[in-house]
Subunit: 537 residues, 2 copies
């Protein structure tokens, strides 16, 4: 398990640059023993070009072949040894159980996409058969399915070094869609990235897919150059609002603009109705404290804004939560820059007019202290949305509005978020309904009586939401619907059966569920023989 | 049928501006008797605001209610009388049969979307039921479906004054998705637009949907201001590349960027293999001439580039096509600006190095003469793609490449187009296969042995393609998949059945096909009773 620190291009390793950078220990900020070459422009172009060449072959891979490739990656990731776990721990500061759990989540995510590939419904097969006798004009035979859009540039996230990184959700969904991937390795965990990339490369070799299907580049300048490469047709990104917007601008300014699927900024508001607080306020307080501080608060779905109704139940809850937050020990963050950003964010919050520090401390140490603020409700109505400017880390802000009426008024003015939680007692369901209807226009997921942290990887998950949560609210970056980002419909008109892709052939060899003449069918199609003639027009 | 020329806002008519413009006769360029008030900024804001307010109600409309609303619009459009047809003829220069045909296409398109609404699969219902005993963590109950993104700004096309305008495909798909529509009336057919808008308003009144569900604004400056309104959440546009890019830039620069679905520029290459030309060259020549000159060549799918293999069959074909094109009479275009653009485009083509005029004439008259050019193959390899710069009108350019090898080399370098045609004899199928595989990465629709003009409105149609054909190749603007543009997934976690939208309730009251625990099912779900408890976490 030697760490070479070189680019991964076309199944080979490449180091053309004289510039290197070090991996750092998350807890101390000190350099680890590994060095990484910064990708040159020539290397970036070559990675994109080989991905473009690989696309022409890989996109035509059979469903079974593609599913097995994803499973092979999953197996290789499961096989990474204890030394790998130790390295991820040092680079990210995350504890061992979290890393082992995230590794399983990553390989299971790949297996879930292999099931999606085998199911085949992502192909979106639709068939309208010819109506030669229709008046005033005959209808030709028209068939549609979806193909991969082309090579995808993937920007991993710092906070999920496995599940949202080299072989994470963006990579899994792009490969499932038939798109090669060029990863820009996150500089906060380059060693982790190299070891996972080696696992992917082993799977590529075992599976016999083109070597250009996977590439990985080191160095922070590689990102912008990669997005500019003409072979790249889409971008998957998880990170800051500034980063996502910068990539979106680069992508839009290309001669051929491409979509950027950026998952960016979210404070995931949690709304607490008084009945729920009366019934189980202390359980909610300890649950919320756990959610806020889980993984040092470094989750996209961290609840950073908690809204209640002014009154005794909410005040009591604030006290309970304050005790909970104060009892949490300071935590190691993923990297020094993230720690400094957190401390800066805490200072910014503390300086907002009327803010009160209820728990925790504004410290400058090398660990992140959990913080709890209470804000005046006026800040919710401030046009710049100061309470919705995400502070990445273990902090949350409590606000009490006057009543349900004010609550319903402020929700439509919230920015876009990934998720929202709503706590209600059984007796408050009639109040909860209208609140959910408002919340669902501002977020991608509305959770009842649970916290937003914990994003299940499944068919029904939405990890997305209106801007600035993401750059495209019509998508999700977690769950099987993520594959839709990298597919586009292509239509075949007037084809003989033999020239159609298998997904659209009369016999339905894949056994797909298809929309045939306006009805869903998993069977084949019977047509008059002359359908198979060519050139009769 | 009085023409008021006022804005349509919230079911009322509004004229706040002192500025008016006239409708023009397409054939003469002379003013008709109708005048239109230019929308003021206040009117534009009000139209968007009422659409935003209507969205909160309309998005929750039941499937049957929404389907009946679409059918009511269809009926009202079918009921437009002969005077309407006469006005459209004068404003657009299109012949009566075309207008009557397009009207039927428009109302049938609305009916097709009402069928989509009733089928309900656009909701994309997905359910993953709770796994309380799963290790290491239980899975909560997670359910997803798609809701409308919000009010849509629709920019109609000049060339389909009914089917791609006020109540055209963008409007029909947005309304079907549950999104209100604010139309920017095309200034080339404002009277037509007013009469269709009146029909939509009658349908709104009959159906009892909120009046803000439909609005329409006059005046070319209204477009940019409308896209900037915060309530607008998506844009549907059909028109020029410059227009589409300008709107995309405005939309991306908003505090909350929104998607623009622009269908823009395409020359729809047609490829002719020698065997097909040998077998039926004269039939293809007359068919191609008809396709190029159909509707004065004013189709998005007009074949503007014809590529063959050098040799006798192609040379003979060029001669036949030249005779066909020369026999066509000059044609009235949709408007004076479009005519002038066409004449300018013809001049530009004629000045390209090595261009030969094979038929037609470069005239300055008040009608468009059909034109046929032959270009040297070098122009296909030119990086600026001069042959792919769409000239909107009855013109096409012939090019012969050396052989199949050169053909396969040039296709991947083509820009994005809406459609491509490929003509092959039965004996050429083995050559055709690899060509189709190349073409499908450059276009949205590949047609065998037919011309690209004629876009069937059905489930399997793709009227889209890579940039610059559209701003987003993952979408179509014709066919039922167009509804996907205006939907986004929302996920409900941990809900009691009674609080879920009907589409996601256990009993499946709409009888939808749903993805339940990874399997497609049209039935209901049986769960243990405790699933219906609330607050057990």
């Amino acid at each position: 398990m030697e760490i070479l620190g070189k680019q991964f291009i076309d199944g080979k390793r490449s180091e053309e640059s004289g510039t290197r950078f070090c991996s750092l220990d998350a807890a101390t900020g000190e350099p680890l023993e590994y060095e990484f070459f910064v990708a040159t422009d020539a290397e970036i172009s070559r990675a994109a070009a080989t991905a473009g060449a690989a696309f022409t072959i890989y996109r035509k891979s059979g469903l079974e072949e593609r599913a097995q490739f994803l499973e092979a990656i999953a197996e290789e990731i499961d096989s990474l040894d204890d030394r790998f776990v130790q390295i991820v721990m040092r680079e990210t500061g995350l504890p061992e159980p979290r890393i082992r759990g995230e590794r399983l989540r990553t390989s299971n995510q790949l297996r879930l996409f292999s099931a999606v590939v085998r199911r085949g419904d992502f192909l979106g097969a639709r068939i309208d058969t010819a109506l030669p006798d229709r008046q005033p004009l005959p209808r030709p035979d028209i068939r549609q399915y979806r193909i991969g859009t082309g090579p995808v540039a993937v920007f991993g996230a710092a906070n999920f070094p496995l599940a949202f990184s080299v072989a994470g959700g963006d990579t899994a969904s792009a490969l499932a869609a038939g798109c090669p991937v060029v990863v820009k390795a996150h500089s906060a965990h380059p060693t982790t990235s190299e070891l996972v990339a080696c696992a992917v490369v082993r799977a590529v070799e075992r599976s016999g897919v083109p070597k250009g299907v996977f590439a990985m580049l080191f160095g922070d300048n590689a990102g912008a150059a990669l997005v500019r490469c003409p072979e790249i047709k889409a971008v998957g990104f998880t990170g800051s609002l500034a980063g996502g917007r910068a990539l979106s601008e680069i992508a839009a300014a290309r001669p051929e603009p491409i979509p950027v699927f950026a998952e960016m900024s979210s404070v995931n508001p949690v709304i607490l109705l008084p009945g729920a607080l009366r019934e189980r306020g202390s359980v909610i307080a300890s649950g919320l404290a756990a959610s806020v501080t889980l993984g040092a608060g470094q989750f996209c779905t961290n609840p950073g804004l908690v809204i209640g109704i002014a009154g005794e139940p909410f005040d009591t809850f604030c006290q309970m939560l304050s005790l909970e937050i104060m009892s949490r020990p300071p935590l190691v963050m993923l990297s020094r820059p993230i720690l400094l950003n957190y401390q800066e964010g805490i200072r910014r919050l503390s300086q907002l007019s009327g803010m009160e520090l209820l728990g925790g401390a504004i410290t400058e140490g090398d660990r992140a202290a959990a913080c709890l603020f209470r804000a005046p409700p006026e800040l919710l109505r401030c046009e710049t949305r100061p309470l919705e400017d995400e502070v990445f880390g273990p902090v949350t802000v409590l606000v009490a509005v006057k009543d349900l009426q004010e609550l319903r008024e402020i929700i439509p003015d919230l920015g876009g978020h990934l998720a929202a939680g709503l706590f209600a007692a059984a007796s408050e369901l009639s109040d909860a309904g209208p609140i959910v209807e408002l919340l669902e226009t501002r977020v991608g997921r509305v959770i009842l009586n649970e916290f937003p942290t914990g994003v299940e990887v499944c068919d029904a998950m939405t990890h997305g939401g209106p801007f600035p949560a993401t750059s495209d609210s019509r998508c999700t970056s977690v769950g099987t619907l993520a594959i839709d980002r990298f597919l586009r419909p292509v239509c075949y008109q007037g084809y003989p059966d033999i020239m159609l892709p298998p997904a659209l052939q009369d016999a339905n060899p894949y056994g797909l569920l298809r929309l045939v003449n306006g009805k869903w069918s998993a069977g084949g199609i019977r047509l008059a023989d002359d359908k198979h003639e060519i050139g009769r027009h």
